[in-house]
């Protein structure tokens, strides 16, 4: 792995400090009562006790996964490990394909060979911690995992422990940028061990139009593809920035924006789409038809608007 550029660390720190102050964009992933919102691969791996999500299983395959998949996000949670607790957080994983995505490790420091590449906060086996966190067991820690396209940042109690540009990590090349978030069932080789989680929440960066539009300029096709999907999901609110990009962008941006505009209109035109959503998309296109400075963009918008009845 190449060292992370200094500027990247600074910008990550800036984003981190911003994000911690904004609470309203976060969605709870754990309601403190039951496992709704999660899929269990095998029953019995996790239980809810006193508002905490506890795993005390010892077998494998007892992991749980979010029902929804995520590409770019900030995940926040608190964790606590017993003396020999061994768990982790799966990122961008397809549960039906073991080994996809990566794991941010959570591990009590119980064996001497658990080095920086396999300790709490590491991207297990791929990226070592650069700043090893406190590993005292029986104590709650706040963890934040930020997946900003190819840049992944892990921090514990507001201190960055690990950072990676996964494009430069050999063992991570070709990993998908989308997948489910999972919690690994405790698999310590000793009875009576556990890991606990609470206050699990997520900010989906792909729900933010300003974030999504920047993905259209990314040189990685998969990240552009994810941004197009996100734009299609966001619908009307993306029309104006995309119309602007189709007019003023570079050839790649123009082409991607053109396709995304089509996809939004096509989705809005679906007989199953609500009348309200159709109206919103159509009206956003009409606004851009009036404001765009390009004849090519205007003609294209007029054409796609025609799809929506």
């Amino acid at each position: 792995m190449k060292p992370i550029p200094y500027t990247l660390i600074i910008s990550a720190l800036l984003m981190l400090s911003c994000s911690t102050s904004v609470k309203e964009d976060y969605t709870l992933l754990f309601n403190g009562k039951d496992l709704s919102g999660w899929n269990l691969l095998k029953p019995g791996g996790f239980e809810v006790i006193d508002g905490e999500l506890v795993t005390r299983s010892s077998g494998s395959g007892t992991d749980i996964y979010t029902e929804k998949s995520y590409s770019n996000f900030i995940l926040k949670l608190e964790f606590l490990l017993s003396d020999v607790g061994n768990s982790g957080i799966f990122i961008r994983r397809d549960p039906s394909k073991p080994g996809t995505g990566f794991e941010v490790q959570l591990l009590a420091p119980w064996t001497p060979w658990r080095d920086d590449l396999h300790c709490t906060g590491s991207m297990y086996g791929h990226v070592a911690v650069s700043n090893r966190p406190d590993e005292t067991t029986g104590k709650w820690y706040r963890m934040e995992i930020k997946c900003d396209r190819n840049i992944v940042t892990v921090s514990v109690d507001d201190q960055i422990t690990t950072m990676a540009d996964i494009d430069t990590v050999k063992t991570m090349t070709g990993m998908p940028f989308t997948g489910y978030i999972g919690l690994q069932g405790n698999h310590a080789e000793k009875e009576g061990q556990f890991a606990k989680f609470r206050n699990i929440s997520i900010k989906d960066l792909d729900a933010d139009p300003d974030y999504v539009i920047t993905g259209f300029s990314n040189n990685n096709w998969e990240l552009r593809y994810i941004s197009r999907l996100a734009a299609s999901h966001l619908g009307a609110v993306m029309i104006s920035p995309l119309a602007e990009m189709m007019t003023a962008g570079n050839p790649m941006e123009k082409s991607e924006a053109k396709q995304a505009l089509f996809d939004i209109a096509a989705k809005a035109s679906d007989p199953l789409t609500s009348a309200g959503e159709k109206r919103k998309v159509r009206s956003a296109i009409q606004t851009s038809i009036k404001t765009t400075s390009s004849e090519i963009t205007k003609d294209y918008l007029v054409w796609i608007a025609g799809m929506i009845n």
Binding site: W221, S255, D263, D270, I296, D299, M307, I308
Partner: protein
Amino acid sequence: MKKVTQITRRRFITGSAMGLIGLPLLSSTFRNVAPSDRVRVAVIGLGNQGRSHMNWFNALPEVEIAALCDVDKIRLEAAANQLRAVNPEARPDLYSDFRKILERKDIDAVTCATPDHWHALIAILAFQAGKDVYGEKPLTYSLAEGRAMLNHLQKNNRIFQLGTQIHAGDNFHRVAEIIQSGKLGKIHTVRLWKTGGSPGLGFPPNETPPETLDWEMWLGPAPYAEYTPVRCHGTYRHFFDYSGGVFADFWCHIADIMFMSIHPKGLYSIESRGERPYDGISDTPRWIDVDFKFRDLDVYWTTIPPEVPDSDKMHIGAHFEGTEGSLTCDYNNRLIKIGNEIVNDIPEIPVTIPRSPGHQQNFIDSVKSRQQPESNLVYVREMTIPMHLAVISFRLKRKLEWDSVNETVKGDYAANYLLSRTYRKPWTLPL
């Protein structure tokens, strides 16, 4: 050509044999058809396929290439030089605007090998000008254009042949005979495939079009776009603005054998899956799979060949599954499987379908006889409809329900909207 001549089968067989061997040196010997009996042909669009038109028709003794047309001066000159080299007697008039050709009363027929978005308009204007048309595939850019073409063909009593020259080969005729013999029982499933898809073409910058190219005219009824070379010659088919990619390009070649053999009716459901390229400005499928449901027949199109005999050797193919056996074929080969036995032919099935004298000769014969040729407009229009619907399903990312009697998509406004496209001014599609 002044008079309509009925020609005998014997004569057109001789004619086609001449066509095969009558290339350059012998041409003058065989060009003894009276000038009044010659069909005067103009070729519009002079890329690879257009130059093939020129050469194919030039080789027919009854044909005189009277004019050539292209919006690219370099291509126009190159084609004219090529023709003069092959046929020193040729005196083609050269045009950059096809409408000048349509004004000429002495031209009987035009062949059209322009990009797809021009096919329908050129054909319709030619019909209106009293000319017969040999047009390249795919038939049209949009489904509605096919209807308009048929309307004007009938109104003006014209001849049309689609340039699906594979149709004329012996293999397709023999496959149709075998399927129609009933030896394979009732055909319930057909699998069609073509490997490969559109490349991304990268993200090249826009450029000023070369002075030798009339870019405005090249675009014609298509939406205005800034010029970049990959949008134009050779790769335009990878843009939905002008065509529908490899799928639209090859559908008619291989769906042809299905329509020739069993002529499926009552298409009612179309569902496409696929992806566009990720690495460039092209937007047509890099792969596409389509499930079609006809009355009593399931048809599957795939980009990867299905697991059927010898499909790994066929980049394009068709597989018929019947209650008694199956048949797999491509343009030139066929495998018949009944039980565990695989054969190439069933000799006891008689030859019942007349063979083509050659696809271009078949057209010229039709021009003279006024009987429609094998790949006539009624036939090819019906054969092209599933392709258009699959493209729309791919673009909208949803299943379509088709009313094949009224030719409308049920309950999907956008899908019906995409059956046609408004032409860019000043062009209009005569309905």
